[in-house]
């Protein structure tokens, strides 16, 4: 467990929880990233302001690396997957989160915080296949 980072992971988690709290209490929206991104792709019959808050939230995410770098060097993102694996993974994540109505943030953070049984089910499902596919990828294939 040489890579074990409970303090920084907990700290990051507290910030994610803070962000989700701000978004629901001030803006009245769930911080579900997959839903926010997918809604940005919709243009037909969308109400006024449909894109505004979503674009602003995503802009905050996009700029966060630059803001972090103003204070400390950015920790490395080691992306081992090949291009073809990234494409398959991206398609699965995009399609799956829309079919399942959420991802790690919407179901895993907000849904579990709301004690939603749907989100608990979804979280157990994506954790389960996450563990299984990881096992197959690293120890079988």
């Amino acid at each position: 467990m040489e890579n074990f980072t409970p303090i920084s992971s907990l700290t990051g988690g507290l910030l994610i929880g803070l962000s989700a709290s701000i978004l629901i209490l001030f803006i009245g929206r769930i911080a579900g990233i997959s839903g926010i991104i997918a809604s940005l792709l919709q243009f037909k019959n969308t109400p006024k302001g449909h894109h505004t808050w979503r674009l602003l939230f995503i802009a905050g995410l996009l700029i966060s690396s630059q803001v972090y770098e103003m204070f400390a060097p950015l920790p490395a993102s080691e992306i081992a997957a090949s291009t073809s694996t990234l494409i398959i993974a991206g398609l699965l994540v995009g399609f799956g989160t829309q079919m399942g109505s959420g991802c790690t943030s919407g179901h895993g953070v907000c849904g579990l915080s709301r004690l939603s049984f749907r989100s608990l089910t979804a979280t157990l499902c994506f954790m389960f296949t996450g563990f299984v596919v990881c096992y197959l990828m690293l120890h079988v294939v």
Binding site: G12, I24, Y68, G90, G111, M137
Partner: protein, 136 residues
């Protein structure tokens, strides 16, 4: 004012993802690799996030209006469905293959990682494919 708050919330979310280690796919895969040198760190991310958000959602249950007295939008669906189960299972498979879920992928894209760009384009295509197949 609300625009600044929303942008700030996105920024805090992104900083949280960076500090937590979620934007490093190798660390995510280290968390999912129960049979290897398992790194349980990312369980603490969810723990920390829920420890804070839980109280925000308790207030939402008591009062379904925002601080600005505007409606709070909550998911309408309450029943389990096969779409929820199958969709989430597909998502988990993709998450393990790349080590990216949507939030960290967007943050890594912002940091300029070419591989994050490839992943995000494929993710957008996957979302569009679902929209095309199910919502027409």
């Amino acid at each position: 004012m609300k625009n600044i708050i929303t942008f700030g919330a996105g920024l805090i979310f992104g900083l949280g993802l960076i500090i937590s280690g979620m934007t490093n796919p190798s660390k995510v895969i280290g968390f999912l690799d129960l049979a290897g040198k398992w790194d349980p760190s990312l369980a603490f991310v969810m723990l920390g996030a829920i420890a804070v958000a839980f109280f925000a959602f308790r207030r939402v249950e008591a009062k379904t209006l925002t601080v600005f007295d505007e409606p709070i939008h909550l998911p309408a669906k309450t029943h389990l469905s096969k779409e929820l189960v199958i969709g989430s299972m597909l998502f988990g498979a993709g998450w393990a293959l790349a080590g990216f879920c949507p939030g960290p992928a967007i943050v890594a894209l912002g940091a300029g990682y070419q591989k994050a760009f490839i992943f995000v384009i494929a993710m957008l295509l996957g979302m569009a494919a679902h929209e095309y197949l199910y919502k027409k």
